[in-house]
Structure formats: C-alpha cells, structure tokens
C-alpha cells in the first residue's frame, strides 16, 4: 500500500516519509499504418516535488487565516518608497531592501475592483478549479500592482467591485485559498470552505 509523501523540516533539514515516486512499466509505441513497427516507448513517471515558500510563507499561511498580506517599501531613500506590492514581494524591486509586511484585507474589502478578466473554458492537466474558470485581475486603491486571481461567484465585468474570500476550511496552502466574489455577496451564498 503506497503512502502520500510527507515532509517536515527538523533541525533545518527536510525529513521525508512515504512514497515520492511510483514505478510504472514502459510501453512500446507502434506504427498502426506501417506493420506495427516500433517507433518508441512511453515513459511513465509520477513524482512528488518539495517546494519552499521561503519569505512568502507568511502570505500563504495568512490566507488560511482569512488575511490578505501585502508588502511595502519603507526605504526613505527609494523612489518606490511607500509603494504597496500585491503580489507580495519580499524585497522592493527598486532598492532591494526588505519590504514591511502589511495587512491589506480591509483595503481589499473596501477598494478592490476588477481591472480585467477572462472566462476560460480550457485547462491544463492537474487543474483543480471548476470550469469555466473566471480569471480576474484585481486593482486596489494605493497599491501599485494588479493581483491575478479568480472569481468564485458571479460573472466578471471590468470595474466591478469585489471582495476577497478565503478558504479557511481545509485550506490548500496555495494561491487557490484566495478568491473573490462580487462585493454585495451575502456570506451564506459563499461556496463550501470559503469565508470572508
């Protein structure tokens, strides 16, 4: 019986437990139009990768707690001083000083609106979002960038006011824990797992 690969950090090292890959048989590829001659082989593979969020870990942890964190350059000598970055940037892109972490949940609730969107009927392998996917980019007052995310409820329109929702029940600890709904959406109509 295989077991999902699990990882902890202990004594500053990764500790691995369970299965991180599965062995499967290569299969021949043959030419149906040409006497079933050999063309090649399949190469099946199923691997689990390990990935650190590094300095962004606090952002992803906070989503599961219903908070949207951003960062801000507070270097008085930087031209970008006072700029708020969402996506969360660990370092200021101009002066490379470490940014301050700011909670912008309230700012998002009050000022978020759709800058642009796309309703996409296709997806790639390993997609977990329901289709069609309503991709949106969200702009905020006094934030210098435009966050990419997805709309959970309703149909997107440019300029529409939206507010953030968070997957606080069974979080995935990925960017999918953050989504958006029209600003006037009542709490009881949020999909399962999500809360304001």
């Amino acid at each position: 019986m295989s077991q999902y690969g699990q990882v902890q950090v202990k004594n500053n090292r990764y500790k691995f437990r369970g299965d991180f890959h599965r062995l499967e048989q290569h299969m021949p590829i043959r030419d149906a139009d040409n006497g079933w001659k050999l063309v090649g082989v399949t190469k099946p593979r199923d691997m689990t990768y390990v990935h650190s969020y590094g300095g962004e870990a606090v952002f992803f942890e906070s989503l599961s707690q219903g908070k949207l964190l951003a960062t801000k350059c507070e270097n008085p000598d930087c031209e970008a001083n006072g700029s708020v970055f969402q996506p969360f940037r660990i370092y200021c892109p101009d002066c490379l000083s470490k940014c301050a972490v700011v909670d912008m949940t309230e700012r998002a609730e009050k000022t978020a609106q759709i800058h642009t969107y796309m309703v996409c009927t296709r997806s790639g392998a390993f997609n977990v979002l329901d289709k069609p996917i309503r991709f949106i980019n969200v702009e905020f007052e006094n934030v210098s960038t435009i966050l990419f995310s997805y709309l959970l409820v309703g149909e997107p329109v440019i300029g529409m006011r939206v507010r953030p929702v968070f997957k606080v029940f069974n979080p995935t600890y990925t960017i999918l824990d953050l989504s958006w709904v029209p600003a006037d959406t009542p709490a009881e109509s949020l999909p399962e797992g999500f809360a304001f």
Binding site: M118, C120, R122, N127, F135, S144
Partner: protein
C-alpha cells in the same frame, strides 16, 4: 511611475558589422513521430549549407561557437538536450550553450549569436533552435507550458498559460477594441490571412483556406478569442549562420545568398503581469509624447501604460533596435516583417508596441490592407507585408525555432529567393504535402530591409531582429 536611467536606455552598439549568411529549417508539423529531434536539426543545418552551395562538412569548418535555443526541457524529457544536438551535429570541441526565454527563445538565440560575432569572440556562429511538443497529450502540454508562469502565484490557477495572457487580451479588446464587432472581424481577418499564406509555404502545417466567418464560428477558447485565433503547437527546427564580414564574403562567394547585415536587440518585462507598474511610454523615433496626451480620453481605460494592453518588452526591443540601425518609421523603412502572432489580438498589440501604428490604432494596419502581400483594397503591393510565412498561426510555433523561422523567412525575401525555396516541387513532395494549384509567389519585390519580433508569453522577453541589404543601410556606422 517607474523610470529608466540613461544608462539603461543607451543605444546598443556592435563592435563590428555582423552578417546573416544563410539559414535553414526542417519541416514543421503537429507531430513528427518518425524523427528524433536531432534529425530535424540536421535537416535544418543541411538546408543552410545547401543555400550556400556548400556541403555540411564544409560549412562546419567555419563555425566557432554554437548557441542552442530550446525552451522546454520537460517537453523533450531531456535536460541538456543542447548537448545531445551539439554532439549529433558533430560540432565538438566547440563551445556551446543553451538559451531559454520562453516564446522568444529563437530570437534570444540569435541575440547571443550576433553578440558573439560583434564582440570579436567568434567569426562564425551557429544559432539553432527547436522544440518538440508532440510527446505529451495536449492537456499535459498545457500544464508544462503553464510551468513557465509563476509556479506559486499563477499556474495553480487552471494550469493554462493561455488564461494568463488572455486577461490582457480582454483588456485590450474592451479598451482599445471597444468590444466592437468590426474589431472582432478584423482579428478574424488576421487568422484568415495567416492560414491563407501558410498554403504557399511547404514548411507550414497550418495551411487553411478559410473565411472570417469560419474563424468566428470556431470553438470559443476564451471569449472573444476562438480556436482559430490561436497559434499552432509544433515540432521542428530552424538555424542561422551568423558571421563577420570576411567570413560572410567567403561563405557566400558561390551562392545566391547575399550576406545581410543583422542586428538583434532585446527587452523584458515582469513574468507576472500582476507585477506591472505604471510608467511613461518610451517613445519610438516616429512618436511624440504629445500624441499620447489624450489616449485615456480617446480610449477610456487606456491611460495606464503599459497596463495590461501594451508589451513593454516589445516596445523596448524596438526602442533599442530602431536607434541602433537608424530606423525612423518602421512602415516606411522596412519592406517585410514577421511578427509573433501567438493570438490574432497579440499581433495587433505588437503593431503598436513596435510603432507600425500608434497605440490604440493597431487595427488600422490590417484594415488599411498595408499588412498584405497584395493590398486587397487596391490590388497594389501592401505597404509593409507581415507574416507571409503564415506566422505562428499558419506556419508553426515550435517555440525554440519560431524566432529563427521568422528570420529565415524575411531573409529569403531579401535574398530574392522566396519563390525558389517555397515553390520547389520536390520540397512539397518530400514533406508529403500537396502544392496548391493556386500557389502564389509571395516574394516582396525589391525587399532591402526587414524586421522580425520574437515574443515570450505575457511579454516577459521580446527580441527584435533587423536585417538589411548592406547596400541599403539607413545609418552608415550602424
């Protein structure tokens, strides 16, 4: 507002003249199950030698450094695939290196190759690019392409790169296209044009005789973009040989290929469009700041630059390239261009980024008929024909090869060999394709200067390659 320094905006300079002396390419197709990638690369290399009337061994003797453009290691499931190709081409012990810049990989490969010659390090360089996108099913292919987006902030959302670009298309569609049905038809016209020109290109695998209505009826991918608005996914290889002047003269002495001066410039912009910040529009030589003063009034929502509607990287590649070579007005100064038409709408966005039309007015390049080989409104030659190869929509998009395929194509016009190369009956036959009865010679008569633009995804990397007949330069010391 962010600003760029004078040092950053310095006009690039090559230390000596650099020449494109020949180029070659393989057949392109959605799948090529009976050939390994190196077989395709050898096909491309042999063609490059043949255009110089040299044997491959003769050409190889001149090569000093090799640059290999290959974007997605995981598509080919071979790390250091460049080393495999290098070995199979028998080019040891020459120094070689792989280049990766998403969709712009082919252009970036030429960029490196040109600089190696310009600096004096090498007198003759091979730039070879390829991609093999047929060895995984389409949804896994989409997953792999989405790996080029930010793995934490973007790709978990749908694992579909098209979606990450498409939000920008939507913004352009609504702000500058004003969501007009007439603009939608103009976009469809681009698809008709590129699939149509592909019919005369034996290398192409997207040849189709279709109408605007066929495009508008094709399956929706991401409203307003439909299946026929999108580029192909392809397998194939392309190469170019870049030289200094004495080597170029020697290599071409028995050939119809006149060595062409080549310049390549590059720009970049945020991998995540979400990180874009506002700035003033970097102006091209044919623009003034005052002409954009009312852009936001003329096109409500269009006042944020580059916002989600422009590609800064393309703008900057042109900014460097035009100043480097003395180009003032691309429509006047170039005779033929190849653009990175990943989607019909990104083609229009690029017209503006490279100054073929001002921001907001890209559609006019198509609607005026200027972009055609023969202007459908006047029956006269188009002012600046684009993508006569069929482009990425009609010819191919084998990522690492695409930027080199474009340069191959514009070079055949400058050499005056377009009809010979694309009309050759044997080539059609060898590729298992039927030469259409209405095959048309698309040679741009008297072409002396040309441009190609190679572009990565959401605009993270863009290169501009400029070719000129050395007897028709715009700037003596370029």
């Amino acid at each position: 507002m962010i600003k760029f320094s004078d040092q950053q905006l310095k006009t690039p300079k090559f230390m000596r003249p650099v020449y494109l002396v020949t180029a070659g390419q393989s057949k392109y197709d959605r799948a090529i199950p009976h050939k390994r990638t190196e077989e395709l690369c050898i096909d491309a290399f042999k063609m490059a030698a043949e255009l110089l009337d040299l044997t491959p061994a003769e050409l190889k003797r001149y090569i000093h450094t090799c640059y290999y453009g290959h974007f997605a290691d995981h598509f080919g499931d071979q790390l250091l695939g460049e080393a495999v190709i290098h070995d199979r081409l028998g080019l040891d012990p020459l120094g070689n290196v792989g280049i990766k810049s998403g969709g712009a990989t082919g252009g970036s490969t030429l960029w490196e190759a040109a600089k190696a010659v310009a600096s004096g390090y090498s007198d003759c360089v091979l730039a070879m690019g390829w991609e093999r996108m047929d060895e995984v099913p389409t949804d896994e292919g989409n997953f792999l392409i989405a790996s080029a987006a930010d793995r934490d902030w973007e790709s978990p959302m749908g694992q579909i790169y098209t979606g990450y670009y498409a939000v920008m298309a939507q913004k352009y569609w609504q702000v500058f296209g004003k969501a007009e049905a007439s603009f939608r038809r103009t976009l469809a016209e681009i698809s008709v044009k590129h699939h149509g020109y592909a019919r005369f290109n034996p290398f192409a695998h997207g040849a189709m005789k279709i109408t605007v209505d066929d495009v508008l009826m094709s399956p929706m991918v991401a409203d307003p973009l439909r299946a026929l608005d999108a580029c192909l996914m392809s397998v194939g290889a392309a190469c170019a040989i870049i030289c200094d002047e004495p080597t170029a003269m020697e290599l071409s002495k028995n050939s119809k290929n006149k060595p062409l001066r080549i310049w390549v410039t590059a720009g970049s912009h945020t991998l995540r469009p979400a990180d874009r910040r506002n700035m003033a529009i970097p102006l091209l030589p044919n623009e003034t700041a005052s002409q954009y003063k009312n852009l936001g009034k003329e096109f409500p929502g269009g006042d944020r630059y580059p916002g989600f509607t422009g590609f800064l990287a393309a703008r900057v590649a042109a900014y460097y390239g035009y100043r480097m070579t003395g180009v003032v007005d691309p429509t006047e100064d170039f005779d033929v261009i190849e653009l990175h038409d990943a989607f019909t709408i990104s083609d229009v966005q690029t017209y503006e980024d490279i100054g073929v039309r001002p921001y907001g007015h890209g559609r006019d390049y198509v609607e005026s008929g200027d972009c055609y080989h023969t202007n459908p409104h006047t029956g006269k030659p188009g002012k600046l024909p684009s993508n006569l190869s069929g482009g990425l929509i009609g010819c191919m998009h084998a990522v690492g090869a695409s930027g080199i395929m474009q340069v191959f194509e514009i070079a055949t016009h400058l050499w005056g060999r377009w009809a010979e190369i694309h009309g050759d009956k044997n080539r059609w036959q060898e590729f298992g394709r039927t030469k259409p009865a209405d095959w048309t010679d698309l040679q741009v008569k008297g072409a002396k200067r040309a441009l190609s633009v190679s572009h990565a995804g959401v605009g993270s990397h863009v290169t501009a390659t400029i070719l000129m007949d050395p007897d028709h330069l715009l700037k003596k010391d370029a």
